[in-house]
């Protein structure tokens, strides 16, 4: 690696950014081709992926050395003090180079190898199948069909190849409509609600200027409206503030004129643009990163950043959308300017409120794959995967995750996944370790041959899904297709400490209820299995007396109480074992005169079930 001049620096200090006592860890800093690694004196490792680095700063020399501050995209901030300025300078320069990648092929995903063979790699990429997902929603059907208009990315480069449109929308209408829409992003189906027969559609802004019309586009909207037999009007949601939309008219863009389109109800919802969001997050991070912050400074900083207001605006829009579908059975067309930022947020959150499938681990992956990846949210630009225009960077996807987190806080039982899942996805959107989020649209991804050269994130997450399961999840919490109605009063929007201070240990509660419940329910499951296993063993050994065993099974249908006890309880509380000549074993009596003793010794030996029980406990302690 030509960028790396120093690979190892010793006696480096890692400062805690919030500790008041100026405590620090001393250790060794290693620079590899992909990571910066710090190992402290107690052998704890801190890994920082080069792609995660958002900014590196070298502060003025102090008596103890040269301070180096690294800000990461996952909101980790590390503060090193390197003893020699020369080393610090080398590392600083190397990191500057390594964290800025010019070509996709240099990203970590192209060198990352999780030791999978080719067929596993292919299978991994096939895990999420969007055709399957549209089938699950109930399309194609009498009203909606798969269109091959964009098969070769001829109509819209940033859309996927496969698009669902109303049956009555012929190819000329599609082509005409796409010419009237910014970047050719014409109205297509995003989500279909089969009970209400209503659809969420998405597009970009119309090129209406002050007076332009397009008959095909008007036909297109009518076709969407007619594809919904249960309601004769449809909503058109412009997710921008009205002022911004009006300003766009001067540039020959703008919004739909209600007079030209029959049966539409037009609505602005006022989510700010990517630039406002970027500076809002910047302000938020400045406040939360301040040392020795007072409560008042924190609250007024939170207020001034406007961050929570933006999150509320996004969720409010999603609630509006979901209610239009669930309550009024009306189809909704959503757009913003180009239809890949705010539109993705609102469509995906709306679907999440409407359909409980998206609240499962697999379903959430499908949702991201559909509304974000396939419809061309510009992950590469927004997350700054390649060294590019800093004005294109914006935390749009982070806001989506934060909105979902807010919902999980309000509905603790409605989601199969937990906060860790959201954080992990956020981590990998920026890590460039997997191919899913690379590039800006499907066409670009195909050109990069990502499915051959990189691996998919989803199987990796599924393989460790235990970590991401919400122990309180109740699949019956809301039956399929019932609307989740969050309360979006301002009190409900809280600062997401675990996102913005994920790596600042001193900020977090010292004991985690979540872990405890997770472990407990896991242990419960484990013990239930043990019981079954033991019962099976007993049955095997005493094949002749099934009757008694059936009874025994009834009793152990409620394993919780037994579960607690260590192995001896199996000995003591074992109900009288079946003995052919009806001799009963009484506790404390001599067990030598029947086969009970055999069993006892059997239990106390290296019984696999018991071993796994101990294993379960041991695991909990680490």
């Amino acid at each position: 690696m030509e960028h790396i001049r120093t690979t190892k620096v010793e006696q480096v200090k890692l400062l805690d950014r919030f500790s008041t006592s100026n405590k620090s860890l001393t250790g060794t800093l290693y620079l590899t081709a992909t990571h910066l690694l710090f190992i402290d004196s107690s052998q704890r490792e801190t890994w920082i992926l080069h792609h995660h680095i958002a900014a590196v700063e070298k502060l003025p020399l102090t008596t103890s050395g040269c301070p180096l501050v690294i800000q990461c995209k996952n909101f980790r901030i590390v503060h090193f003090v390197v003893p020699r300025e020369r080393d610090c300078h080398d590392i600083y320069n190397s990191l500057l180079q390594l964290s800025r990648t010019a070509k996709y092929e240099e990203l970590y995903a192209f060198s990352y190898n999780p030791k999978q063979n080719e067929s596993e790699q292919v299978k991994g990429w096939q895990l999420i199948d969007l055709a399957e997902e549209y089938k699950r929603m109930g399309v194609p059907n009498d009203y909606w069909q798969l269109s091959d208009a964009n098969r070769d990315y001829k109509i819209c480069e940033t859309y996927p190849r496969e698009l669902y449109v109303p049956r009555t929308a012929s190819k000329p209408i599609i082509v005409g409509s796409s010419k009237f829409r910014s970047k050719g992003r014409f109205p297509v189906l995003s989500y279909y609600h089969k009970n209400k027969e209503a659809a969420i559609c998405r597009c970009s802004q119309p090129l209406s200027g002050f007076s332009a019309r397009c008959l095909e586009d008007e036909h297109m909207l009518q076709a969407i409206s007619k594809a919904n037999p249960s309601n004769r009007y449809m909503y058109v949601m412009d997710t921008r503030p009205k002022l911004n939309a009006m300003a766009n008219r001067a540039a020959g863009k703008g919004y739909e004129n209600e007079d030209n389109y029959s049966n539409i109800r037009f609505q602005f919802v006022g989510i700010e643009n990517i630039h406002v969001m970027r500076s809002s997050l910047q302000k938020l991070l400045e406040v939360s990163g301040t040392r020795g912050l007072s409560v008042n400074d924190f609250l007024s900083g939170l207020e001034n950043s406007g961050w929570l207001r933006h999150i509320k605006a996004v969720l409010d829009a999603a609630v509006f959308l979901a209610k239009a579908i669930a309550v009024e059975s009306a189809s909704v067309l959503v757009h913003c300017s180009d239809g890949w930022d705010r539109t993705s947020q609102v469509c995906s959150l709306g679907a999440l409120l409407l359909d409980s499938y998206y609240r499962t681990i697999k379903g959430f992956m499908v949702l991201i794959e559909k509304d974000w990846i396939s419809f061309g949210h510009k992950f590469s630009d927004r997350c700054c995967q390649l060294d590019g225009d800093p004005k294109e960077i914006s935390p749009v996807f982070t806001q989506f995750l934060e909105s979902v987190w807010n919902l999980t806080e309000q509905f603790p039982q409605a989601f199969e996944y937990n906060e860790a899942f959201l954080l992990q996805i956020h981590e990998h959107v920026h890590s460039c370790q997997f191919g899913n989020f690379l590039g800006n649209c499907q066409k670009e991804r195909e050109e990069l041959k990502l499915k051959e050269k990189t691996y998919s994130l989803w199987p990796f997450l599924l393989s460790e899904q235990k970590k991401y399961q919400n122990p309180l999840y109740n699949p019956d919490f809301s039956p399929e297709l019932t609307l989740l109605e969050p309360n979006t009063v301002s009190f409900n929007f809280k600062f997401w400490r675990n996102m913005y201070h994920q790596f600042d240990r001193s900020m977090h509660p010292r004991q985690s209820v979540f872990n405890l419940i997770m472990n407990t329910s896991e242990q419960n499951k484990q013990l239930e299995e043990d019981i079954k296993e033991l019962e099976a063993k007993i049955k095997q050994r005493n094949g002749r007396s099934d009757v008694v065993l059936v009874k025994e099974q009834e009793q152990t249908a409620h394993p919780a109480p037994v579960a607690l006890k260590s192995p001896p309880c199996f000995q003591k509380e074992q109900p009288p074992l079946p003995v052919n000549d009806a001799v009963r074993t009484i506790e404390g009596s001599n067990t030598a005169d029947n086969r009970y003793s055999e069993l006892v010794s059997e239990f106390s030996k290296a019984e696999p079930a018991v071993v796994s029980l101990e294993y379960g406990v041991a695991r909990m302690t680490c």
Binding site: L308, K312, L564, M620
Partner: protein, 575 residues
């Protein structure tokens, strides 16, 4: 005085009650000497009771031939009554006003309340100084029992038997007492057995404008220094009474606004300054605890009278340091000894430290060491007549305890429900525990013989389980809370089990500040699920036992807390 004189209209038909987040109820309203009762019509299947003492402010509005009354309760509930007939409306309003502000303690409900399941005198635990001294003597020999105050000459508000450092003579103690406001010389609040340090509290010294000195004080100081101990300087941040009350009122007002924008909400939350007070109280307590535990110095905490913020700090410091205070029983004892009773007094001398600048709270009439609950909790956030004596210091304490419980969810044996109940009872109660301002008043009113005790009620098995934290496991380490603003939350919106307390309309639940405003059914359900997961399914437990499984079934997960709790890694508290 007779109650009947105050009740101008005892019954009104066809009254409509509306509450936030709950369906309206129409029925007959009755006013009794202590309660407001609404029984629904036509079926009469619903009876709603409200302790009139709970009413903080009455707002009446007459419109045409009917009127409406808004009752703002001390527990922050808001009730609206639509009453047909303007005269009835005005009568009802003035009756409630009169009954809710009855001055005489002896006329309050606890003196009439006779719960069938409780005996009077049950649950009143007077502290015995001699017994506590025995405990202390087992740990150290530096103190002796002294009779210096046997005729109340040294300090009228301390008990006759006091414990003084063994090296200090009685006449020195007597002289030094004159140097303190109300004679309340430094007393031992907590003895930290781990390293023999002491947490003391007192009233402020009286150096006067001429910077008078007290030779006895300084002489004793010499003794202490000779013992070779360090002393700590504890700068306390100001938590003045009046600003605190205003802060509380502003916060409640902000919480009551129907649909503020995020900016407005955060702005109002900020300008209420409540969370700043919480943070200040927590960090002061931490500082005191840290001095005791880490630096091995003794600490003296004092405000002006030593009855408000002083107690807040000393009680919190004990909660942080001493695992015994974190059980339901231990917490009750802590409240009894720090907040309610005059604690048995250990006299000892330490270098006097920087005072807690307690604001201009008026002096309680009988200036005792306990918190003057009746003065401080006479009015809550809504009262139009914001008196000078009210201050939600106790609420601030409960809020700080709640913050601790959020940061250490397994370390307190009691749950949020207990904190809410304590608040409610401090402000309006059917029990005598929080009545009166001092021990002297309590004796005069013979509270112990004539009113039921809240502790006795909390001890009842069917009540007790509501207040327990299912996740509790003993944690022998000090709890060092996070003092960053990001770690401090507004006390609201964590799942709590359903409240079915007697005599109140079923409320919705959302922490303290928003508990009547925002129903959070989903959080309750999640809490139940959590309880089920941790404790195992109750029904299956019983069933299992019914079928003859021997022995009591321990709660699932109980044995595992310790591991997971301490396995959290190098948190300050556990590391």
């Amino acid at each position: 005085m007779e109650f009947s004189e105050l009740i101008k209209t005892a019954t009104v038909e066809d009254v409509l009650l509306s509450r936030q987040g709950l369906p309206d109820v129409r029925g007959t309203l009755c006013i009794t000497s202590h309660h407001l009762l609404l029984s629904s019509r036509p079926r009469g299947d619903l009876e709603l009771w409200l302790l009139i003492r709970n009413v903080d402010a009455v707002e009446k509005r007459v419109c045409g031939s009917s009127g409406s009354i808004t009752l703002r309760c001390k527990d922050l509930k808001v009730l609206q009554l639509e009453i047909p007939g303007t005269e009835e409306c005005l009568n009802v309003a003035s009756s409630i006003e009169a009954l809710s502000s009855v001055d005489s303690v002896m006329m309050l409900y606890p003196f009439f309340h006779r719960p069938p399941s409780l005996r009077l005198r049950q649950g009143w635990h007077p502290c015995a100084p001699e017994r506590l001294f025995q405990q202390l003597a087992a740990q150290t020999s530096r103190w002796r029992l002294s009779a210096v105050n046997r005729d109340f000459s040294a300090c009228p508000s301390y008990p006759p038997a006091v414990i003084v450092p063994a090296a200090v003579a009685d006449d020195t103690v007597a002289k030094a007492a004159r140097f303190r406001q109300g004679g309340r010389f430094p007393v031992l609040s907590y003895f930290h057995a781990k390293n023999g340090t002491a947490l003391l509290r007192s009233s402020q010294p009286l150096p006067g404008p001429k910077r008078r000195r007290c030779l006895e004080d300084e002489q004793l100081l010499g003794t202490v220094v000779a013992e070779g101990e360090d002393n700590a300087t504890t700068p306390l941040s100001p938590c003045r009474g009046r600003p605190l009350q205003e802060s509380f009122a502003r916060l409640v007002e902000a919480c009551g606004e129907p649909a503020p924008s995020v900016e407005r909400w955060l702005g109002r939350l900020d300008s209420s300054r409540w969370l700043g007070h919480v943070k200040a109280a927590l960090s002061t307590a931490c500082l005191a605890a840290q001095c005791l535990d880490r630096e091995g110095c003794s600490v003296l905490v004092h405000g002006a009278e030593g009855t408000d913020t002083t107690l807040l700090v000393t009680a919190l410091a004990q909660l942080i340091l001493q695992p015994a205070c974190r059980t339901l029983e231990g917490f009750q004892a802590l409240l009894e000894r720090e907040w309610i009773q005059v604690r048995v007094v250990f006299v000892m001398w330490r270098r006097v430290r920087v005072p807690a600048h307690l604001g201009a709270l008026t002096q309680p009439p009988h200036g005792q060491a306990g918190h003057p609950f009746q003065l401080r909790c006479a009015r809550s956030a809504a009262s139009p007549a914001r008196g000078k004596r009210e201050a939600p210091v106790f609420l601030l304490f409960l809020d700080c305890v709640w913050q601790l419980s959020r940061q250490f969810p397994f370390s307190l044996e009691f749950g949020e429900q207990l904190l809410l109940t304590l608040f409610d009872n401090a402000y309006a109660s059917a029990y005598g525990t929080f009545l009166c301002n001092s021990e002297k008043e309590r004796r005069l009113c013979r509270l112990r013989e004539r009113t039921p005790s809240l502790w006795a009620r909390l001890e009842q098995p069917e009540e007790k389980h509501k207040y327990l934290n299912p996740l509790y496991s003993h944690n022998p380490l000090p709890l060092w809370p996070c003092g960053q603003p990001q770690g401090i939350q507004l006390w609201h919106a964590i799942p709590v089990p359903e409240r079915r307390a007697q005599l109140r309309p079923a409320p919705s639940l959302a922490g303290f500040f928003l508990r009547w405003i925002r129903p959070c059914r989903h959080l309750d359900e999640a809490w139940e699920e959590m309880r089920r997961l941790v404790q195992g399914d109750k029904s299956s437990l019983e069933e299992g036992e019914g079928k003859g499984r021997a022995g009591p079934s321990p709660r699932l997960g109980h044995g595992t807390h310790a591991e997971t709790g301490t396995g959290q890694g190098p948190g300050v508290g556990l590391g």
